[in-house]
């Protein structure tokens, strides 16, 4: 093979370079369309209100800070920080709940041979496909009768009770992939399940747990319907409700601050995404595919 390369190798080499060029042009075109709204909101947040809709420029001609400094006043007496700390509280509790309850449940499904496991596993998977809306009203009635309206309890109770089937499934798939010799050795050494879970399976399942934690954080941060239904007092509002309130109060007249606040609300999600995107994307892909 090697002896004939020099005269012929030229053409494939050139063709390969052309292929790479075409590929990058195609990928960049898609990228431009996909990132357009993100760059637009970045630019718009520095435009004067009247330019935001009317101006076609992607970036501001003369950047202004007014949109951001306006946020310091808050919305009808409630500071922006209040919305953020409420959201952080919600997302933080959700993460703790999902990590603890889902990993315990997943350990049982993946590592313990108990009667009825397959039936329960099928039920758990079934809840993945169940439209959430059928539970919405009775859950609301339940939490209302228990006196938990206008608290975080209805929003996070499910997280502590492993109702997020997707994450349980993801962790089960991951734990099943761990070498069985490890927990069998632990058992021979006299470890009980609690010990095996805590010292062996949990540390090794870190990728699946981190993926679940990040997804939980982002979902809770973006959650809109839950807070919309359960929270009534503006001082308890999360960022998504704060944004809606902002829109109602200020409307079109203060478009600039609205866009600025939208951008600020996106910051935690985008930061998390940037920091952990490898975990997120691989976790997403493997959860659907591991055998």
């Amino acid at each position: 093979m090697t002896s004939v390369t020099s005269p012929v190798a030229h053409a494939p080499n050139e063709r390969r370079r052309l292929g790479a060029l075409v590929w990058h042009v195609g990928a960049l075109l898609v990228l431009a369309v996909v990132l357009y709204p993100v760059i637009w909101v970045l630019g718009a947040s520095f435009k004067p209100s009247k330019d935001i809709i009317a101006s076609l420029d992607l970036l501001p001609t003369k950047p202004v800070w007014a949109n951001f400094s306006g946020l310091a006043d808050g919305i009808s007496g409630i500071s922006i920080g209040s919305f953020f700390s409420n959201s952080l509280m919600y997302a933080g509790l959700a993460v703790v709940g999902v990590v603890i309850s889902s990993s315990l449940t997943a350990y049982a499904f993946a590592k313990i041979q108990f009667a009825g496991r397959n039936l329960l596993f099928t039920l758990m998977i079934g809840t993945l496909l169940l439209p959430y809306h059928v539970l919405l009203i009775p859950q609301y009635v339940l939490f209302r009768n228990l006196g938990y309206i206008d608290t975080l309890v209805p929003l996070v109770a499910g997280k502590f009770l492993a109702t997020e089937a997707f994450f349980v499934f993801l962790m089960v798939q991951f734990m099943r992939g761990l070498p069985r010799e490890l927990d069998e050795a632990a058992k021979l050494d006299g470890c009980g399940h609690l010990r095996t879970y805590w010292s062996i399976v949990l540390p090794l399942s870190r990728p699946a747990i981190i993926t679940s934690a990040i997804f939980t954080f982002i979902n809770a941060w973006n959650d809109f319907m839950g807070p919309l239904i359960y929270l009534n007092t503006p001082s308890k509002y999360t960022v998504s409700l704060g944004l809606m309130m902002f829109r109602d109060q200020e409307g079109i007249s203060n478009y600039g601050s609205m866009i600025a606040m939208s951008l600020v609300a996106l910051v935690p999600v985008v930061a998390f995404f940037m920091a952990f995107q490898r975990y997120l994307i691989d976790g997403m892909a493997t959860s659907g595919l591991k055998g």
């Binding site: 109702t163 089960v172 798939q173 809606m244 829109r247 659907g288």
Partner: protein, 318 residues
């Protein structure tokens, strides 16, 4: 979905080599199993199974939260089927599902094919394409969408260049739903990543053999790629259509909390929310919810039935 089918207990795992001795050991394993999954069991009974039974009951009652539910038989369902706004919500939702799901999957597959080639900067592209999937569900992006598609804004002006004048999609009942469709398509990252993982598992030898036989790129795609990734395609079709049936936040935010104008974005869950939480008609809303469950179950069943015809599992080939 392949995995969901395989998942319950692999045969090899069934008889554990570990010394679980006799009946006592088995009983102890059972106890441990149920203790470990007690959060899930509590959650399932309290927040899933219980509420399902309750909502089934509410569906046959008139219930406004303040007075006890009153049994009304099938009244909610007969009123519902004759309700023009309910009919409209079904129409809007079906239109959304049928338009958004295939377009989103097509784009996801297209980009996945692009990214499946080994090129420089691939990981960066992959991350950038995935980002909308994470922020797309937020109220922030709903606002951005309103701004981009409103009268006189970017999309409107771009259209005018091509001689189309609709005065912004947001205010136009004929177009506003497509702004939501666009928002859904924009979030193609999740199915794209799943397609990518599927594409990685296609054995390269198949392509090499096909190329030797003189098969062009289109034939290779049609006869190798598509059948090989059909389980992944099935998984994506199932999940994305089920999600599309349940769209709420974007419809509520983009179309100004009233799911309009003229009920043009009155997706099913938006009407359910209005009925249940604005008008306190919990019975009617529960009847709506159960109708949605049945519709989703039917779609799932049809998809599972159809997969025999077009989904190729490797086990079946052996």
């Amino acid at each position: 979905m392949t995995l969901v089918k395989e998942a319950p207990a692999r045969p090899a795992q069934k008889r554990s080599a570990a010394p679980v001795a006799g009946r006592r050991g088995r009983r102890r394993e059972n106890l441990a199993g149920y203790l470990f999954m007690s959060p899930w069991i509590a959650g399932f009974l309290l927040l899933t199974a219980g509420p399902m039974i309750a909502s089934l009951y509410y569906a046959f009652t008139s219930y406004n939260l303040f007075t006890p539910p009153k049994w009304v038989g099938l009244d909610n369902f007969t009123t519902m089927f004759q309700d023009p706004r309910w009919q409209k919500s079904v129409e809007v939702t079906l239109k959304y599902v049928v338009v958004a799901t295939p377009l989103k999957l097509l784009l996801a597959l297209g980009v996945a094919l692009l990214l499946a080639q080994k090129r420089r900067g691939q990981a960066l592209y992959r991350a950038a394409f995935y980002m909308p999937s994470l922020i797309g569900a937020s109220v922030s992006v709903g606002f951005v969408w309103r701004a981009l598609f409103s009268d006189g804004a970017v999309v409107d002006r771009t259209q005018k260049v091509f001689g189309l004048d609709v005065g912004g999609w947001i205010g136009n009942p004929d177009y506003v739903l497509y702004a939501l469709v666009a928002l859904s398509i924009w979030q193609f990252g999740a199915p794209m990543v799943i397609f990518l993982a599927g594409l990685k598992q296609v054995p390269q030898e198949l392509y090499e053999a096909a190329e030797m036989d003189g098969a062009g790129p289109f034939r290779r795609f049609w006869n190798i790629t598509l059948p090989m990734i059909s389980p992944v395609l099935f998984f994506n079709v199932l999940l994305e259509s089920i999600h599309a049936f349940q769209v709420f936040g974007s419809a509520y935010v983009v179309s100004d909390t009233r799911c309009g104008p003229a009920d043009a974005t009155l997706v099913y869950t938006c009407y359910l929310y209005q009925k249940g939480f604005k008008e306190a008609q919990m019975g009617f809303a529960s009847a709506m919810a159960w109708t949605l469950v049945i519709a989703v179950a039917l779609v799932t069943a049809v998809l599972f039935w159809s997969q025999k015809k077009w989904v190729h599992y490797e086990e079946a080939a052996k």
